[in-house]
């Protein structure tokens, strides 16, 4: 399926939840959807006969200064089409429903996005830090992050 067809069927099925279809992007086209419906969309994409998007390649957090984005790179191994989904939430209330129940692989990706960006994935079974120590403070990949002077008595800056 082409991007055009996918976006049309998503718009038909979910209507209001599809916020923006950016088909004329310079490189990869993408679709922005409402955060609260990402779970339903994901489930539809995975189980629909025409979509069969069985694989979540990558899940990334992005800090857009004021809003946090979560970007889903999806691919179908049977039909060989790809799709980029995005959700956007304000930085002060970064709550996105977890899609761990749809694609298990999202578990660690979401933990990573939580760890580095502070995106709260609601419904995630085990939302702990994954890369940084459990007692680390702050979300280092946010653009306004300040490196702490000391961690556990060890000096952090050079």
């Amino acid at each position: 399926m082409t991007f055009q067809e996918i976006s049309e069927s998503l718009q038909k099925k979910f209507g209001e939840a599809v916020l923006l279809v950016k088909a004329d992007a310079a490189v990869d086209p993408f679709i922005v959807v409402a955060p609260q419906s990402i779970c339903d969309i994901a489930l539809f994409l995975r189980d629909d006969k025409a979509m069969q998007i069985d694989s979540l390649s990558c899940l990334s957090g992005v800090d857009r200064k004021g809003t946090l984005e979560v970007v889903y790179h999806l691919a179908s191994m049977t039909l060989k089409h790809k799709l980029v989904l995005k959700v956007s939430v304000p930085t002060d209330r970064p709550e996105v429903p977890s899609i761990e129940s749809v694609w298990k692989t999202a578990n660690w990706h979401e933990r990573e996005a939580y760890d580095l960006f502070g995106v709260m994935f609601t419904g995630h079974p085990d939302l702990r830090r994954i890369l940084l120590p459990y007692d680390w403070e702050g979300y280092p990949l946010r653009k306004d992050y300040e490196v702490p002077e000391f961690y556990n008595g060890m000096r952090v800056p050079y």
């Binding site: 992007a25 310079a26 490189v27 990869d28 993408f30 069985d54 694989s55 979540l56 390649s57 990558c58 990334s60 957090g61 992005v62 800090d63 970007v71 790179h73 691919a75 191994m77 060989k80 980029v84 129940s101 694609w103 298990k104 692989t105 578990n107 660690w108 990573e112 580095l116 830090r129 994954i130 890369l131 940084l132 120590p133 280092p140 990949l141």
Partner: protein
């Protein structure tokens, strides 16, 4: 919801004799965690009830560094250091993504050299994977024999770029250097040299009776689970999924070369067991040799750098480029905000994703099996933690 198969935990087998579970810490300094992974094991005697991985002991802030660089080219050395046993593979993936974003066409000679390097690197990487897997199973000698062969590949790399491990060879829009004179002959000689050694390896390790009994039917990863966990590379193909990005999402010049995708067939056990994952690596080494030989034969003359402006200014856009690295799908998601330096780079490391399935397939196994499972996933902590 896809059903995932759990091995029945040892504690619920309906026996009246219930033993106390013990929590054992494996790593970060442990001979078989392949680096600084820490596994918290809940064990009932020798049987593993649960595995809780703790990562991040090698979190080197790759993504932060990528954002701080002043242009796209400067990210390449950091990309090298992600999956440090297959630097060429990482560079390949990064330049594919970056060139997609910056809309650069590279000369055909560059593509061929990149393919040759990436495949040589794949052999070198699989040699480490199989060698260390041998150590995990208890055979020390194959490791040293494989390392000896690997040195030949490193010599070839050293000749083209001067480095043994981290090369900074693939540049955006080309390569740092052209091949030195006589290199093609040496590479051909290497292919001839390696072929009998793979046969020897099969005799010594792969088809060893003890090795088979240790790895066959152990850690079976069913097809559906593998796909749901987005496993890739030998891990996915070992489970019988015929999927290789080099063929199914083609990049570079792989479509001009004749080669096969290797898939686990359950030759000595179940499809998707540790042995299958290992044999896929062995066969991939053979296929890589095929690719290298053809690419060497087809290698066109020409320049190794595309004509580029001094400073590349992309439009504000984003691109996700992925390639088949030795461990699986290595993707780079690059966002540009219209300035000369990247706004955000996210690396999708195959080891990170492949490791997440270990908990799923090692419940109910024995401690020795866990070592075998972990070894067969072939993780590199530099890429898991980035």
């Amino acid at each position: 919801m896809i059903e995932t198969h759990h091995s029945q935990p040892a504690t619920s087998r309906g026996t009246t004799l219930r033993t106390e579970e013990m929590i054992v810490n494996m790593g970060p300094q442990h001979p078989s965690t392949h680096g600084v992974l820490r596994l918290e094991l809940v064990v009932d005697g020798e049987i593993v009830v649960d595995v809780i991985p703790h990562l991040g002991y090698l979190h080197r802030c790759f993504e932060k560094h990528a954002e701080q660089m002043s242009n796209y080219q400067q990210v390449v050395p950091y990309v090298d250091r992600m999956d440090y046993v297959s630097s060429m593979g990482n560079e390949f993936s990064y330049v594919v993504a970056a060139e997609k974003l910056l809309k650069i066409q590279v000369p055909e000679r560059v593509e061929y050299i990149r393919v040759i390097m990436a495949e040589l690197q794949r052999i070198a990487s699989h040699q480490i994977a199989i060698g260390t897997y041998g150590i995990d199973i208890g055979a020390f000698t194959p490791f040293l024999l494989l390392f000896k062969d690997r040195e030949r590949i490193l010599d070839l790399f050293e000749e083209v770029c001067g480095a043994r491990l981290l090369y900074n060879y693939f540049w955006i829009g080309g390569l740092s250097h052209d091949l030195p004179p006589g290199w093609v002959e040496k590479a051909k000689a290497f292919c001839e040299y390696l072929k009998p050694n793979i046969v020897e390896l099969n005799g010594l390790l792969t088809y060893n009776k003890i090795f088979i009994s240790r790895t066959a039917n152990v850690g079976v990863l069913p097809k559906q689970v593998a796909i749901n966990y987005a496993c890739s590379g030998p891990m996915l193909r070992g489970s019988g999924v015929d999927w290789d990005l080099r063929r199914d999402d083609p990049y570079s010049v792989y479509h001009k070369i004749d080669w096969d995708v290797c898939v686990g067939r359950g030759e000595v056990g179940t499809v998707g067991d540790c042995w299958d994952r290992n044999i896929v690596r062995v066969h991939e080494m053979e296929q890589s040799l095929r690719i290298i030989e053809q690419a060497l034969a087809q290698l066109p003359e020409g320049d190794v750098k595309a004509a580029l402006p001094k400073r590349i200014m992309p439009v504000a856009s984003e691109a996700y480029g992925r390639t088949e690295a030795p461990r699986g799908e290595l993707g780079f998601y690059i966002i540009s905000d219209g300035t000369g330096s990247p706004y955000r780079i996210k690396a999708r490391g195959p080891s990170f994703v492949n490791l997440s399935v270990v908990t799923e397939i090692s419940r109910g196994a024995m401690i020795a099996d866990l070592v075998a499972i972990l070894g067969s996933t072939d993780i590199v902590l530099g890429e898991v933690d980035r």
